[in-house]
């Protein structure tokens, strides 16, 4: 039993036929080739699969894709490319803020969501936005430095 869904992903309208209970992460990764959405736990516990949904950082590994029809979805691929990285990506490059990088796309998404709402977040807002994101390599200090630099550099 499959169902047709129209998803708005990175500015494009995408038609997919999927099982109604298929999690959004699997649709993005396997049907749309957006493998920047990482598969870390499938349990909503690690933050690796985060995307922006109507601007809000949202985990995608549990909730079915069907829930996201009519919502604006942005994955890490929609936030910049290796040739033209977006501002958050540039700041993370500048701060060398990734080791293995498996947690990084989720972190890019979380920081983008935060800064769109509040371009000058304080320390506790920064840490709260990153709290859902696990990083086993311990890249936290460099990620924090990158986000503070972005907050400082944002026009008042």
């Amino acid at each position: 039993m499959t169902k047709s869904l129209t998803l708005d992903v990175n500015g494009a309208s995408c038609l997919v036929r999927v099982d109604p209970d298929m999690p959004l992460a699997l649709v993005l990764r396997n049907r749309l080739g957006l493998t920047g959405v990482k598969d870390g736990c499938g349990l909503g516990q690690c933050g690796a699969c985060a995307v922006l949904v109507d601007g809000e950082p949202t985990l995608t590994c549990v909730r079915p894709a069907a829930d996201f029809e009519g919502r604006r979805i942005e994955t890490v691929e929609g936030l910049g490319t290796p040739e033209k990285p977006g501002p958050v990506q540039r700041a993370l490059i500048e701060a060398r803020a990734a080791q293995c990088g498996y947690c990084t796309p989720g972190i890019v998404v979380a920081v983008t969501g935060l800064l769109r709402k509040d371009p000058h977040p304080g320390e506790s807002a920064i840490r709260a936005a990153l709290e859902p994101h696990l990083c086993r390599c311990g890249a936290h200090p460099s990620v924090l430095r990158a986000v503070r630099a972005l907050a400082r550099a944002a026009p008042r």
Binding site: T81, G101, P105, R136, C137, G138
Partner: protein, 726 residues
């Protein structure tokens, strides 16, 4: 022959480096990238030594048959092996290029210089590109072990600051991990596992496959896997099979407290001298002196906890198997796969593909072997086999539980006359070793469950210098007399293997906590007490560098009573701790100072940390700092939070809620001080900060509260227990 095993096995320039006619330089390393930026560091070494721009160096992915066989990427050996080999190969190549240019131009080589991929005559200004010099004849010559490193290569390192390889791909999601490889026609596979190690498949309904929506069921003994074109179907099929399978177990996991098992089980004991266990009787400890102190420290089983569950892609076609894997050892893995599947080495190819950080021997090799088994059962289709989060938590080989028994005799001034350190633990190294006696397949999971079952090989004591259990059990201090003993304890309950630092983290945690106890007993400042016993200049230098940046002396001068808890300066109620070690007694020197506060709820809050390191000559300062910070954060997580839990029916740490790790809110401010030693050999640094981090935290907790916590992790419960015991 070189003392560097990588060079001894691959003594020619062309084993490591190809200068291509287009002027680019291809570098092959057998060490793999696992987030530690080794490929960036090796590429930098090649660029500087050859004198070519960094962006013209191409690092070839590690692949059996093409890359040098450098065993495992482990033990902080990569810079000393691969980095050193590439440096000498590049220096040899550069000299050869200059010699060729001299012949071509009919001038003396001494009138030539290199600059950014060109050879230039100082007299005529004529230049020849490196590419032109290899058009007719590629560089093939032995590496000159005496080749002098280019002096400028040492001076140039800091600028321009280079961007690590792959970083752009990581932050934009463009870089594909092995989990993301989905070639045409690929199947998604999952393994259906028994409830625990000792269970075997009792029954499976005969008509099961019919209800799997077209998913394939692969069964071999108690090894069960499903594969489907759609990953979601594969997940659903795995759940159905798991629900239908019946397992039986002759025994469960031994769930008595691990300290009881470490003390009570059969063991083999060895005295350790000059960091090496000896096959001799263990000397009796001398009788207690008038002033004797003793303490016991414990570490639980802890996991690698890679952020990505292990995965591998395999394809079996025409009798040949190719496996893409995030393994740390492509050649040892190839041997083990060939052995298990009864294939010739030549018909198996293992290719390294990016994975998440692994921090030692995690599930990567197991997943590769499982993917190979499924691919053989379904030939001609690529099979992407991924572990679930639960697989990773419950089935990876953990860092072993350890018990450290410390004792010291003190003189009237409170100084150490005699120091004893005994460590009891399971083995730390269960990796497959090509050339080792006996079959290697039993070191992997799947072969223990297939019909033609292979048992896990019996534990053999690791008698190498600074091996697993005894790694860093030898103190860096000039004590008049020491007694170091390693005990390999048998028949312990959980699956184990190498976790970042092996025994070093817990041995340093114990030794540097104990030294702190002795300092307090002597009424001495812990920094001064360490300096009193430390003769080695480089160890002292990192200790002093950390103390200085931390502001240790200033606060001592402020008259803060030692060990008094709530104190002057910094955060009211905060304590401070310091610790130092040289990893493996042979790699980087590292000191860590920590400021921490303990709340009314007995929870520990890390406020600030300073890490000072001496890693010999520094190649990539950013990468080095990242490794040290990362090592600190990981060790802080082990120290504050982590313990694998189990009961008779299996592992109960099955996800990130039942096995939490440190999150952003708990990470302190960290500063790193890099002590550069230009001209000194590279020293591995990836594991250097972990041991000192654990001890510095415990020492800061003592300073803040007067409670000495000796049982890891330092959770509120363990602090309360320690307070009650003291």
């Amino acid at each position: 022959m070189s003392a560097n095993p990588s060079l001894a096995a691959h003594p020619r320039v062309e084993d490591w480096i190809t200068v291509r006619p287009d002027g680019c330089v291809e570098v092959r390393s057998g060490k793999v990238e696992i987030g530690q930026r080794i490929t960036t560091a090796v590429a930098l070494v090649a660029a500087r030594e050859l004198d070519v721009p960094f962006d013209r160096v191409v690092m070839a992915p590690a692949r059996t048959g093409l890359s040098p066989d450098e065993g495992y990427t482990s033990g902080s050996n990569s810079m000393e092996q691969s980095g050193h080999a590439v440096r000498l190969a590049a220096a040899t190549a550069r000299r050869e290029l200059v010699a060729r240019a001299a012949r071509r131009l009919g001038v003396d080589a001494s009138t030539l210089e290199t600059r950014e991929g060109l050879v230039r005559s100082r007299e005529t200004n004529r230049t020849l590109g490196f590419g032109e010099l290899v058009e007719d004849a590629p560089l093939t010559l032995p590496v000159d072990l005496e080749a002098a490193p280019r002096a400028a290569a040492r001076e140039a390192p800091r600028s321009p600051r280079i961007e690590p390889l792959r970083l752009r791909g990581l932050v934009t999601g463009a870089l594909r991990f092995v989990h993301d490889l989905q070639p045409e026609g690929a199947l998604h596979a999952r393994v259906v596992r028994p409830p625990h190690y000792h269970a075997a498949l009792a029954s499976l309904p005969g008509d099961l496959e019919a209800g799997l929506e077209g998913a394939r069921l692969v069964r071999d003994g108690s090894f069960l896997a499903v594969a489907a074109e759609d990953e979601h179907h594969a997940l659903r099929a795995a759940a159905r099979v798991a629900a239908a399978a019946r397992w039986s177990a002759a025994r469960g996991l031994d769930d008595r407290p691990i300290s009881q098992q470490l003390l009570g089980n059969r063991r083999e004991s060895f005295p350790v001298r000059e960091c090496r266990p000896r096959e001799e009787p263990v000397p009796e400890p001398p009788p207690d002196a008038p002033r004797t102190m003793r303490a016991v420290y414990e570490r639980p089983y802890q996991m690698h906890g890679s952020l990505a569950p292990s995965a591998a892609l395999a394809r079996f076609a025409g009798g040949r198997l190719t496996v893409w894997t995030h393994s740390q050892g492509i050649y040892p893995l190839r041997s083990a796969i060939a052995e298990t599947l009864d294939l010739s080495l030549e018909s198996v190819e293992v290719v390294h593909a990016p994975g998440a950080g692994c921090y030692g021997h995690n599930g990567s090799d197991d997943a590769a072997l499982e993917a190979a088994l499924v691919a053989r059962a379904i030939p001609d289709r690529p099979v992407l086999l991924k572990w679930s989060r639960e697989d990773e938590h419950a089935w990876e080989p953990y860092g072993p539980a350890m018990r450290m028994e410390l004792a010291a005799h003190l003189d009237d001034a409170g100084d150490v006359r005699f120091w004893s350190h005994e460590t009891l633990s399971d083995t730390h190294v269960v990796r497959a070793r090509p050339g080792a006696a006996g079959p290697q397949a039993g070191r992997f999971l799947a072969p223990r469950y297939v019909a033609d079952r292979v048992r896990e090989p019996a534990r053999a004591p690791n008698l190498t210098v600074n091996g697993g259990i005894h790694r860093n059990a030898t103190p860096p201090y000039a004590f008049p007399e020491t007694r170091i003993v390693k005990h390999l304890v048998h028949d312990l309950p959980l699956r184990v293997s190498a976790l970042r630092t092996l025994g070093a983290y817990a041995n340093v945690f114990a030794a540097e906590s104990f030294l702190d106890e002795l300092a307090h007993a002597a009424g001495a400042d812990p920094l001064d007490y360490r300096r009193r016993h430390l003769k080695d200049a480089r160890t002292r230098a990192v200790l002093d560098a950390a103390a200085e940046r931390f502001g240790w002396a200033a606060r001592a001068a402020a008259g803060r009573p030692v060990g008094a808890g709530a104190g002057a300066g910094g955060d009211a109620g905060a304590g401070r701790g310091i610790a130092v070690a040289r990893y493996k007694n042979a790699k980087s020197y590292c000191a860590v100072a920590v400021e921490a506060r303990v709340g009314d709820d007995a929870a520990i809050h890390l406020l600030r940390a300073v890490i000072a390191v001496d890693a010999g000559e520094i190649v990539d300062p950013d990468g080095l700092a990242a490794q040290l910070e990362g090592g600190f954060v990981q060790a802080a997580s082990w120290t504050l939070l982590e313990a694998v839990a189990w009961d008779r029916d299996g592992i109960t740490s099955r996800d990130w809620e039942s096995y939490p790790i440190l999150r952003f809110s708990a990470v302190p401010e960290i500063e790193t001080v890099l002590v550069d030693r230009p001209g000194e050999p590279f020293l591995g640094a990836g594991e250097a900060s972990c041991g000192p981090a654990g001890a510095a935290i415990a020492n800061a907790v003592f300073d803040a509260t007067g409670v000495r916590a000796r049982r890891l992790p330092l959770t509120p419960e363990s602090l309360r227990e320690a307070a009650a015991e003291s």
